[in-house]
Symmetry: C2
Subunit: 306 residues, 2 copies
């Protein structure tokens, strides 16, 4: 089960922190930055080397990594190959891999996406990830193939409910006529139903959600509305979310939520206070320190570490 | 300009029909079906060979093809390589390529997707497609990078507004408090605004929409609401949409909409009446005949052919 493997790592490492692997060549250290004329294969090699360095430094501090597909798709098939190799490497270091690809389509196509990312491990074509983010816009029938695949194949899904960007309110906060609640709460109602049906004897279902830490009130409401779903919390750091706001999203055992940090960890060597302590070649050590510092802030804010 | 190139092909071929390239190995003819033990590279080679045969047969009958990303992502980087090679081949035969990937994410990530699929042709890493489908769930700021890239780089986008699946109503038909209209119409309002801003001196903007032919009343309302946007119309055939329902979606010049058919064309050799006239190795000729038959039905229903 995805949730069991995830919780084993969270408890062993006393950490609900997930490192986002969003490769951005403009922020790579000089030693790894590809030349302007580099081929896609050369760029993919640099991305893989960057990710491996980060993974080596954070593997004992976090339960999972979250590669963002867009930053690999930028380099076509070579980028996807680097993504797959990153995921294989992360798993070899005891990390779970949450692929942030926000897929969603009509049922026949959603089934193909589910085969792509939530297949059985025995499937020789299975993508080496443990969970996938998905998008609810096409409605419940479009999500069912993902739910079925996650349940059957020991994987997880995180459905977008309230995203971390400013524009999230445009659709997600629209109030529904007659229902007296905003759209995001309508989707939460679907999740509550699926979580009950799929959790079996476990506290948490394989059906989790994405709730931006930039809207702490909504995230905390979702915690109460969805006692059987993991909350994936993006928006820390660059987007303005605060560590302390995550605290009410965890259950008394320190489970039930995952705090994401991407650029604020992997490019820490470019910013205060790390820029003064780590040189370019030490970018991965800076990432480790930034991850440790976020964890310390979580503990200081009351995250249960025993 | 994407729209200019598209309209040149539509007018030259007297055809607003787009062939969906959704490779499904279970429906491949025996000559191309990979063995159960085939590697991903072998499967990718079979997919490319299948697509090339279809493209050779339909290139003079349609302005564009629409590969569905999910069916390539199923085979990881090897599948994406087959997708890229398919797109390059289609373009070499004078076809435009609309990548159906329904991407959408927070602004920083949306910019990476836009760089991936809507880059300038001069960019050595540019994916060989002319237009991309995108998802509105994250709101307007999440769509702006796609609009900017399409406008600047001569590409097109098609935003999901009313999808073709049954479950589409779950979110898209929710009525908005105070607004007196359903959610899909709210999104149409955004598109109307962007289309006005981006069309320049052209009748049609690079910002188009997806409107399922399975909901003909909504599709026809969208035609009236959005006089400056192309309508991409999926849902014909397997999903139950009817050719005649597409007619009101075209303008008097036969422009302004694209009718999609995927499985009903590319796997025509497996169904009546084509199964009696074409053998397995003639699957591509059957696809050509099925495309020609849909075009004839469009003409018979009143599509302007002069």
């Amino acid at each position: 089960m995805f949730i069991n493997r995830l919780e084993k790592e969270i408890l062993a490492k006393k950490s609900p922190l997930v490192v986002g692997l969003d490769p951005d060549l403009t922020m790579f250290p000089p030693s790894l930055k590809p030349a302007a004329t580099a081929s896609r294969t050369e760029i993919a090699a640099a991305i893989l080397a960057f990710n491996k360095s980060i993974i080596d430094q954070v593997a004992d501090l976090v339960p999972a990594v979250k590669p963002q597909a867009a930053f690999y798709e930028e380099y076509g098939w070579a980028g996807i190959k680097a993504l797959e190799e990153t995921a294989v490497y992360a798993r070899s270091k005891g990390l779970l891999v949450i692929l942030d690809a926000k897929r969603g389509d009509v049922p026949n196509t959603a089934s193909a996406y589910a085969r792509a990312y939530l297949a059985q491990d025995e499937n020789p074509h299975a993508f080496p990830c443990d969970a996938l983010t998905i998008n609810p816009f096409l409605g419940r029938d479009s999500l069912q193939p993902f739910i079925d695949a996650a349940s059957s194949n020991q994987r997880g899904i995180f459905l977008l409910v309230r995203t971390s960007n400013r524009g999230a309110a445009d659709l997600q906060n629209l109030r529904i006529e007659g229902a007296k609640h905003p759209l995001w709460q309508e989707i939460a109602g679907w999740v509550a139903d699926w979580a009950t049906k799929t959790r079996g004897a476990n506290k948490y279902s394989p059906v989790g959600i994405v709730a931006g830490l930039t809207y702490p009130q909504e995230a905390q409401s979702l915690r109460l509305l969805l006692p059987h779903s993991y909350l994936l919390l993006p928006g820390l750091g660059t987007q303005g979310g605060q560590v302390a706001d995550a605290i009410p999203c965890f259950d008394p055992d320190g489970l039930g939520a995952l705090l994401i940090a991407a650029r604020s960890i992997i490019y820490a060597y470019l910013r205060e206070p790390y820029i003064n302590r780590f040189s370019g070649p030490e970018f991965a050590q800076a990432a480790r320190q930034a991850a440790a510092d976020i964890l310390q802030r979580l503990y200081d804010a009351g995250y249960r570490r025993e």
